[in-house]
Symmetry: D2
Subunit: 434 residues, 4 copies
């Protein structure tokens, strides 16, 4: 379900526009709910260059609506502070000069209160605009709104990733929340395999159909997928621990060359956030430091670790075409942000179907993030949204425990560099058919 | 044509083995011919971590035969110095601990003379072995020889790349040779396009057929290639200069994000080896510093530059499947190392066919270097030959002016990181069909 | 005047101890007054590794009293949180493992409110202790208090330096305070020189006299100071601008080799915080961005810049023995923190005496920071206070506009690395006698 | 004895000039003798940025005579190659743009043979000039020659330091020479102390006396040296091993802060070139890898290690004024390059006098390298010889086993950064008088 399911941008009537406004309000409120447990001090930290201070997220998503909708289309819009256009531009170099990303944590003013004032200012203007939209721009406004809402949802997930990374720097291991939904405990069933025959598959978003998709999911095209098998669930913490105990992090044999170099340079000995206490593996979660549930999907591993595990296990990662082929057979349900675990959980025993394709962990695929045939960037500065990142990254699929359920799709392509670990990233095995 | 064309390893008779020996001698001699113009001092330089001193190349390719053929299969083989197994192992971590790559230029002993003595020692032993091979190991010996010979040819090309980079550090711009074959001067024709229809293609090496291929060219598999068009020749220096003059290196608009960061960090303003002298673009070649031939293919550009040019030109790079589909229509002939230009040259006017698919410049494709479905590493340490490099790199196709003609194939996959420029790398445009 | 002038630690009676308590309360209150204008967000920023977040300062100075006085000598003291001993230890490696300095800005919890609670907790315990001190430890308690109070004063100056650096990162140039005392405007007189004859001088603190001094000011010893001349005031912004206009930052001629390398690496073109706006030099001050007062002492220059200016001007920096010899002739009065300018100001025209020896700017000397003959570290962990920093740094003398007036002495030795610029550092010229 | 002892530059007659020529020839020949055992490959290596390839040294010292004597004063001089003025300028930025130091090892042409041709070319011209000098420039020529000869001698020592560092990179541990003079074996006597009373000392070179000295040894001036004691010999390997066994490299207690940071960053566990083999400490010497002589002075330690040892031993390093005061009582004899050990050796038992003040190891002092009062740079580019390095370095005194005996003086000031270890650097203890 898209953020504005069933809403059309082609022939919107006033009723539809009201629904767009409600979707806007709902999604904006969700962002604020995520930040509610934070102290002002938490809002300020940039724990690594990839992480943004929560204060910045709060401002940037508002800037997105200001820069791309209010300034062009709201005739009376006055910005709160002209400097914000520089401070809260993320990476749109054709729009202006973005403030340097690694220095986002250096800026104490505007304060958190200032930023929320900016946010409220933008919200008021958006409501004005949507209550009385200029008809000649209405389609373009909705087109941009249709992008701005999932953009904000992406930052909701980033906020949770970043908050986790920020609080994890603290030797006190403070919990983000102590009222998270309890995690179920299931004994996971032995790994099973599903076989798929060879054939031509349509891959990517069909833009003749209803519903939003990012530019990187288009153009829809054919791929020949050779016969393959895919595991019926992700690899678990317990299985990954076997790899560790077999010397997985100590021997280069199963690693990509870049992966092994990263292991040595970073001193990796376990997934991110894992720490051994009195002989028991714990990991930091948004609920604090807890023992690792060996039945839950392994999380916070890099592509390099996923690939090394797969090689050690005599398997490989699925390609994104394989994953997408399979995903059509699975329901888009699972452990999303709405379940309020904010960590992957163990699934109930095998049900004879593909488990946990959606939610829990983003699944690393073996595919580099490159454009589909016929890919076209959006016009203008929004063309920078996805296209310029199509090198040096790998595709992940399926969403995770921090993703809004209505944000994900079968064709959704997420991407991170192969060394990144702070996303909720795990993996599922594939192999050739016999 | 493979290095030992028509030679079988399945049922070799003594006649065949003699031909293998002759191929060995021919290829080993070619390496030495490449080094003949060098001074001992040239043999010592490591101009960047990616470059190896020529002395190291000379020793390493000998070590390859020693480590993988002589030690396992020559019953009486005595190594010249046990330390060489450490010093001249490149990256085979399952074989032993390689001497650190960035420090190859720190090692003055063994001297160049010592290394040639080692080389001769290995050659004598190889001749002994091939003149009287142990029958029970014969197939395995030939299988490894079949890999060792193209391995040595790869290092011939690397030697020329590295020698060029080494001498180019020198403000005196010394020529490697002053007797290179003169470069033809042709007025290149306007760029033309060839259209290909959509369809399923077989990609990769067919191992039921005769002839050697690397493991990374297998397994052969089907890909659906949507309709596309491809340029009938590579982009020229003159065309690339237009991009430069249009501010190509000054504006981020057409660049991948990583590419633009690299442009700024490295201060790129032109292809590698280009320098302006009195308002005229020159470039360093193995024959010294000469004015740039505007009709020759642009060379020593990174993937990032190739991609930015293509975006600026409203086109894109071909995928490797597209390239391979097209390459079946082109003869494997062109400007290879045997032409003795050692730089790309301008082609004669359009002939109505695909020009310069082979030779001149390696062509960047838009495909990341990842395993084919069904890829299997070689057993043992030789499994490290290609597989572990399958991340963070892009595929190049077609060979170049420093490649031996009998080394290249339609299915040959070369690969470099997207920022690399010291290979003889250029590119060809593709675009969607109308 | 020392923080506890006239207070003895040898034979303290209850009256004296009350005065110590009042000094404690006064100095602790001064720290909090400095932080009063800050937002919580300002408390969090670490703008470079040398800078500490104000929150950390607030906690660390409290930790100092806790670790070195309360825990050893207050029989009933309970710490608020055992983790603080790690988090707020600055560099006392013999006391425990300090939290890594460059990561001080990563820690959002304890919050600012928590840290003030910790501060109040320590203050209550200190008051209890001083109201009813254990007699057998009284001298040691006072000895440590006598160090802890100037320690806190040092952090008051560091807080102002760090707050300035933190806010200066912000392109909005926010003022720390808009109610600073107005800066006087004087036309400064031409530079004059005072000549001193050769002779043996006693240098360093005389510990047979009353009054506190740091260990690094002892032992008092004799130095032969050859005849020299010293300028009657520091170099001004206007004079420094002449150096800039003469190409001071563009030519290596007058620079130390390390200094020139730093100029190139850092791109220095002016003192820290200077920026040209519409052809007029401005600089960021704690009152915001203002035009540079050309009659005020130049500030925020490194030792390298001071030395280069001096060489360009045909002079040199004074040694610290020369400076100390001269300083006996000057009154310890001037532009200190109490004047509430928080920036150097122009002095009234020449009065025939040495001007601005104290206050305004710390004056770089030509002397490396090394121990005096007979230097002895304090016993225990407090031995790390000064001694271990005696390499790689240069001595500065005289205090500045951010120094409490009762904190400075003729013998006071401040020190920074030669490239440091965020202290309120300027300089005064010296030269040989004719 | 200076390189041209007894030679005057004030009123030179033709006999004197012949002696200058002989001194020139003798010193130039000594450089070539040092390089005689090298292979061409050894000439090429730059094992770290501080090290220069021997080929570069050979050329640079010739360039010095060309740039500062031949070009200005030899009327018919023709350079061999104008590019050499750029390539072989070390750091004289007012003379031209030096080739970047860290890239000296990148330049294979001119070859070693070319460089020796350049050297011979310079020598012929120098002989011409000195056989028939232009009388009007004679004094300036001799003044520059008087600097050029010790300059070449400094490079002789640097050559030995650099060759040792170069060959030590090689896991084969090749010996530079296998015919070095055998090292004597003495049981060293227990450390004794000599006491010196307080008093004013004249420090620095007296330029009213005959004999050459560098600018940094002037101007002669008075220092008050408080009473002190100094050890009668340097600290030995055996004594330093006790420090190591006491956890010297494992605990921060005795280290300067910068020193301890360096220990951790570099992983230091022993002096440079030390390696444990089968439980026995060996070290690499110019004669190859040999067991450490526990009675010889410890060598290849940084200032940080010397200072940490001294603090651990309850002592300190002498200041350079103390060292110079003492050195007047010692004869300038000892283990210099002429003894041909090329490593420090154990001294015979105590003789009741100060031992090994000269030769064996450069002795770290506790004094930073700063100008003396009245220091004046030489005019012109030669002013860069010493002055611009007077920051960030510590003074060493007394020469070493690689120093020509006639190169050293009581007033001689050598200097290295506190972390440097590749010089033949050791130390001697001092302490206060009781």
């Amino acid at each position: 379900m898209s953020p504005a399911q069933g809403l059309t941008i082609e022939t919107p009537d006033s009723l539809h526009i009201k629904e767009w406004l409600r979707a806007y309000q709902r999604i904006r409120a969700a962002t604020e709910a995520i930040c509610a447990p934070l102290h002002k001090e938490d809002y300020m930290v940039q724990s690594m260059p990839d992480v943004s201070p929560p204060k910045w997220h709060i401002a940037h998503v508002s800037w997105f609506f200001e820069a791309f909708i209010l300034k062009p289309f709201h005739p009376a819009y006055q910005t709160l502070d002209p400097a914000y256009d520089h401070l809260f531009n993320s990476y749109y170099v054709t729009h202006g000069t973005p403030f340097p990303r690694p220095e986002r944590g250096m800026i104490s003013r505007p304060t958190v209160d200032d930023v929320y004032r900016y946010r409220a200012h933008v919200d008021r203007a958006m409501e004005e605009l949507l209550n009385d939209p200029p008809q000649e721009h209405l389609q373009e406004i909705l087109r941009r709104l249709e992008l701005g809402l999932p953009h904000e949802q992406q930052h909701q997930e980033l906020l949770l990733m970043d908050i986790k990374h920020i609080l994890a720097q603290n030797p006190l291991c403070p919990a983000y929340r102590d009222d998270l939904a309890p995690t179920p405990v299931h004994e996971v069933a032995a790994l099973g395999w599903h076989a798929y025959p060879a054939g031509v598959q349509y891959i990517g978003h069909d833009d003749t159909e209803e519903g939003f998709a990012y530019d990187n999911e288009m153009g829809r095209h054919r791929q020949f997928v050779e016969a393959f098998q895919i595991a019926d669930r992700p690899v678990t913490n317990g299985e990954f621990l076997e790899f560790m105990r077999a010397g997985g992090y100590d021997k280069p044999d199963h690693w990509l060359s870049d992966g092994w170099a990263t292991v040595k340079a970073e001193g990796w000995q376990a997934p991110l956030y894992w720490v051994e206490r009195d002989g028991v593996w714990h990991h930091y979660t948004l609920g604090g430091l807890v023992p690792v549930d060996m039945n839950a999907p392994v999380c916070h591993v890099s592509f390099y670790e996923a690939d090394a595990y797969a090689q050690w296990a005599g398997a490989r990662l699925p390609t994104e075409a394989e994953w997408e082929t399979v995903a059509h057979d699975a329901a888009i349900q699972g452990n999303f942000v709405e379940q309020d675990h904010l960590q992957p959980v163990s699934a109930a025993g095998s049900t004879g179907v593909l488990g946990q394709m959606f939610g829990d962990v983003w699944e690393w695929t073996g595919s580099a993030y490159r454009p589909y045939p016929g890919f076209r960037k959006l016009p203008g500065s929004l063309g920078e949204y996805n296209g310029k990142f199509m090198s040096g990254q790998m595709v992940l699929r399926g969403g995770c425990c921090a993703t809004p359920a209505d944000h994900i799709r079968v064709t959704y392509r997420n991407f991170f560099p192969p060394h990144a670990r702070w996303a909720f990233s795990g993996f599922r095995l594939a192999k050739e058919s016999l």
